[in-house]
């Protein structure tokens, strides 16, 4: 039986170390994509073990299998429809009760499964001892203790997985509900006898009682009498308990999870607060929390920009030295300039932003996420984000936006609803990314003084706030409030952080690079065929008359669509020999303002298309062009009054 193929899915709550186990098992043999037609991430990897080729699917971290979020729906369908050979339920030993609630729900899907009892080291430090055998006996499935961050127990886990798959699983304990609920379930199952459905009958019966919309819709087509029977039973249960049927069922599930947890664990809370708890208290405190947050964010930004600036210079100096090589190969004719000025310069543009700024940004971000600090920042910033109709989690993509808007837009996936994803993505495109920072610092900061550059940053925050609020008012729908688990702090793992960084970077390159290259090829072609000056003249009513800028800014702003700081670099070149000093201070400010807001760059637009769809991406782009032009014109007129 050489090279038999197996599929194993990892399922569990968020922050239980699922992805650590996933990384440990699959190494770099991973593929991160989306679930078909959904903006939910699907991570897959392969490994070979004992003559098997095993596909590991890392399901999203969720708390329940209801259909509140897309992630939950996707996970449930995956297990029911694609029927993996085994599900490994990763459970956080330090929060056993909540995790077992999910375990019991998984069991109802009647899929073969084992439990990975992870983070037993953290649990021990919190004074929680878990009796493995007892837990196995209560759950009826094998339980393997692991400390994934140290790789402990992971190979035993895999061995157990294979053993269960080979032997087949028989024993299992299902949650037994109260008598009347069980009777009701039996009654509904009877009506389902002759139906073939993707979910097990008992599961369908329970979900019908809970009023699960998706399942009611499907079953109503097949066996309408089952839906009717469920409604009757639910009514009886509601009468008896005085609570909605779904509440009764969820309560009983939690009751069962709690009872398993209480029987399997021994609690000896430590007398002293653990270091993790003290750190938690410090970082969420109303005074020290904000001090730590602001200073660490400033440190991070300062560090990344210093590093990015330095390496970006070195990289571009190095890459531009390749120009003679290109010239000698392709000449200086039309082909030559298209190859160098189009393809190569586009690539350089991409590389000099991606590597120096985005890589360190991602590393720091995943370091913070892995440690648990990001959820504390979300806690502290919830109130501020609330003002623009978002909750604390939206601060994370916004923060990312200061590095690059592309990952920031992709990062808006962490928001639960579509409405919030759209709002958050819109707001993040207004955040001045590294490229815009180059313009702000290189033009206004350099010639007018750093205080003016800072003023522009503050102004940007005001704009974000005002436009965010406006969008929040205009967009239909209710804001959803924050519900977020703050898992214990833990030591981030370099391996996991680097891997996440690597996969995100690959995603960035896939989205951004083709467009940057094609875009710069198009513009270079326009240049070669002498179309740029006519275009600049065409734009002059806007650039010269309304914005009071030199005619050539029309060209540079078009280049800026590829990559914002190109507009400045090009402007300097076109204004030679005088250089940027040829601009008046007012022109500098107006130009910078327009460049800051006028359009998300082409890579960001494609990220927007990917996350929100073409229509919304178009609206956002058009709005920002109009907004920047209007703002620039007003700024010109106001500033001339004072100049």
């Amino acid at each position: 039986m050489a090279h038999k193929k197996l599929i194993i899915a990892l399922a569990g709550n968020a922050n239980v170390g699922k992805s650590v186990i996933f990384n440990y098992l699959t190494g770099l043999h991973q593929h991160i994509g989306n679930w078909p037609g959904k903006t939910v991430e699907r991570a897959e990897g392969t490994l070979s073990f004992k003559g098997y080729t095993i596909d590991i699917v890392d399901l999203p971290g969720i708390y329940s299998l209801s259909t509140y979020s897309l992630e939950e729906l996707v996970s449930r369908k995956y297990i029911a429809v694609e029927r993996p050979d085994l599900v490994i339920n990763v459970v956080d030993a330090s929060v056993l009760e909540r995790n077992l609630f999910f375990t019991l729900q998984l069991m109802e899907l009647e899929t073969p499964m084992i439990v990975a009892l992870n983070q037993v080291d953290i649990a021990k430090r919190k004074g929680i001892e878990i009796d493995n055998e007892k837990l196995e006996q209560l759950l009826g499935v094998p339980v393997v203790q692991t400390v994934a961050t140290k790789g402990r127990g992971v190979s035993q886990l895999l061995e157990m997985a294979i053993k269960v798959i080979e032997k087949g699983q028989t024993t299992r304990r299902e949650v037994m509900y109260g008598e009347e609920v069980e009777e009701g379930i039996a009654k509904i199952i009877e009506t389902l006898q002759n139906v073939q459905f993707i979910y097990p009958r008992r599961y369908v019966a329970i979900k019908l009682l809970e009023g699960d919309e998706e399942i009611i819709r499907e079953i109503a087509k097949l066996v309408p009498q089952a839906v009717k029977a469920a409604r009757e039973v639910a009514g009886e249960i509601e009468n008896l308990h005085g609570h909605a049927c779904s509440t009764v069922i969820t309560s009983e599930q939690y009751e069962a999870a709690g009872s398993v947890a209480r029987q399997a664990q021994k609690l000896v809370p430590p007398l002293k607060l653990t270091a993790e708890e003290r750190l938690h208290n410090l970082t969420t405190d109303r005074i020290t929390g904000y001090i730590i947050m602001v200073s660490s964010l400033l440190l991070i930004f300062f560090g990344i920009f210093t590093f990015g600036n330095y390496t970006s210079d070195i990289l571009s100096n190095f890459l531009y030295r390749l120009e003679p090589l290109s010239t000698s190969l392709f000449g200086t004719g039309i082909v030559g300039s298209l190859v160098w000025g189009g393809v190569a310069e586009g690539l350089i543009a991409g590389v000099t932003v991606a590597l120096p700024y985005i890589i360190p940004f991602y590393i720091v971000l995943y370091f913070l996420e892995d440690s648990g600090y990001l959820s504390r920042i979300a806690f502290l910033m919830d109130n501020v984000m609330h003002k623009i109709g978002l909750h604390g989690k939206a601060f994370i993509p916004m923060m990312l936006g200061y590095g690059c808007n592309v990952p920031a837009c992709l990062g808006c996936r962490i928001m639960e609803t579509k409405r919030e994803r759209t709002l958050a993505a819109f707001v993040t495109t207004l955040v001045p990314c590294a490229a815009r920072t180059v313009i702000i610092l290189g033009l206004v900061g350099h010639f007018l003084g750093i205080q003016w550059a800072l003023a522009l940053y503050v102004f940007d925050l005001v704009v974000i706030f005002a436009l965010g609020r406006l969008a929040f008012r205009v967009m239909p729908g209710e804001p959803s409030a924050l519900i977020m688990e703050m898992a214990d702090y833990r030591m981030p793992q370099l391996r996991t952080v680097l891997k996440e960084t690597w996969f995100r970077l690959a995603e960035f390159i896939k989205i951004a690079f083709p467009l940057i290259i094609v875009g710069s090829l198009v513009i270079k072609a326009a240049d070669v065929f002498g179309l740029l000056n006519p275009i600049a003249n065409l734009l002059s009513p806007v650039t010269v008359v309304w914005l009071g800028l030199p005619v050539i800014t029309g060209i540079t702003l078009i280049f800026g669509v590829l990559r914002k700081e190109l507009s400045l670099i090009l402007l300097a070149a076109l204004l030679a020999p005088v250089g940027l000093q040829a601009l008046t201070p007012v022109q500098m400010v107006v130009f910078t303002l327009v460049a800051m807001f006028y359009i998300p760059c082409v890579a960001t637009i494609s990220a927007l298309v990917k996350e929100l769809g073409g229509k919304k991406a178009l609206y956002i782009t058009l709005f920002e062009i109009a907004f920047a032009i209007i703002l620039g014109g007003i700024a010109l007129r106001v500033l001339t009054l004072f100049a």
Binding site: S246, H386, L482
Partner: protein, 235 residues
């Protein structure tokens, strides 16, 4: 000291305070636009009757007994505002002062009928504040609507009105008993472990009405303001 002025004071303290933090008498004075001295005198009387706890330098906060009264009268006030606004079409600016007069005369029975008549509203019309819970033993308004078709009297009453979790002090505990916002909100909370009857402990709250940190079933949750205001507990 009339019951009307007791209710007015308790309602004011309820509106001004959060997380059981004491508020100063001058804040109350500003609220009523009267002299701080007369507020202090009144607060002392309320403290004597066990409605509030007062210490001269730290300020005043509601005792359990006072909190119950405050929730009740605030509920009546906001329901009346809804009625005046939605049914009688009185303008937003005027409903508050009208309701202030009527709330003291509204009986509990009439309040319950009013709630049903208005189809169990969640928010008051003028400033969008959450309407406090009643003493029927349901965990959402939907349950009340469902069961009202049958027999309401059978379901009995709670011993006390559930209080908003936002009124709990740091370290205080309560049992989840009523959720505003209906079934969707309840299901979301249930999935995170906040099923009706679950004990929650308030750990802290972020400043400026930010989110609250609570402990539930051994795990630590951050709940945004929009969410905490929906949660009512029996403490």
């Amino acid at each position: 000291m009339s019951s009307k002025s007791i209710e007015d004071y308790l309602k004011a303290i309820y509106a001004l305070s959060r997380n059981g933090k004491p508020i100063s008498t001058s804040e109350i004075a500003e609220y009523f636009k009267i002299a701080p001295a007369s507020v202090t005198e009144m607060i002392k009387k309320l403290a004597k009757k066990g409605y509030v706890k007062y210490s001269p330098y730290r300020g005043v906060h509601l005792a359990r007994k006072g909190l119950q009264v405050a929730e009740k009268v605030t509920r009546k006030h906001r329901l009346l505002e809804r009625f005046l606004h939605d049914v009688l079409r009185i303008t937003e600016e005027k409903v508050h002062s009208e309701a202030c007069e009527m709330e003291h005369a509204l009986s509990d029975e009439a309040e319950e009928s009013l709630c049903r008549f208005l189809k169990h509203p969640d928010l008051c019309p003028d400033d969008g504040k959450i309407i406090p819970a009643c003493d029927l033993p349901f965990s959402t308004c939907e349950e009340c609507i469902e069961l009202h078709k049958k027999n309401l009297e059978e379901s009995g009453r709670r011993q006390q009105i559930p209080i908003s979790i936002t009124q709990l002090k740091k370290g205080e505990r309560g049992k989840v008993s009523f959720i505003r916002g209906g079934h969707k909100v309840l299901q979301r909370l249930c999935d995170m472990g906040l099923t009706p009857g679950t004990e929650v402990t308030v750990v802290k709250s972020a400043p400026f009405h930010g989110p609250m940190e609570i402990l539930v079933r051994g795990s630590r949750l951050a709940l945004g303001r929009g969410m905490t205001e929906m949660i009512f507990v029996e403490a």
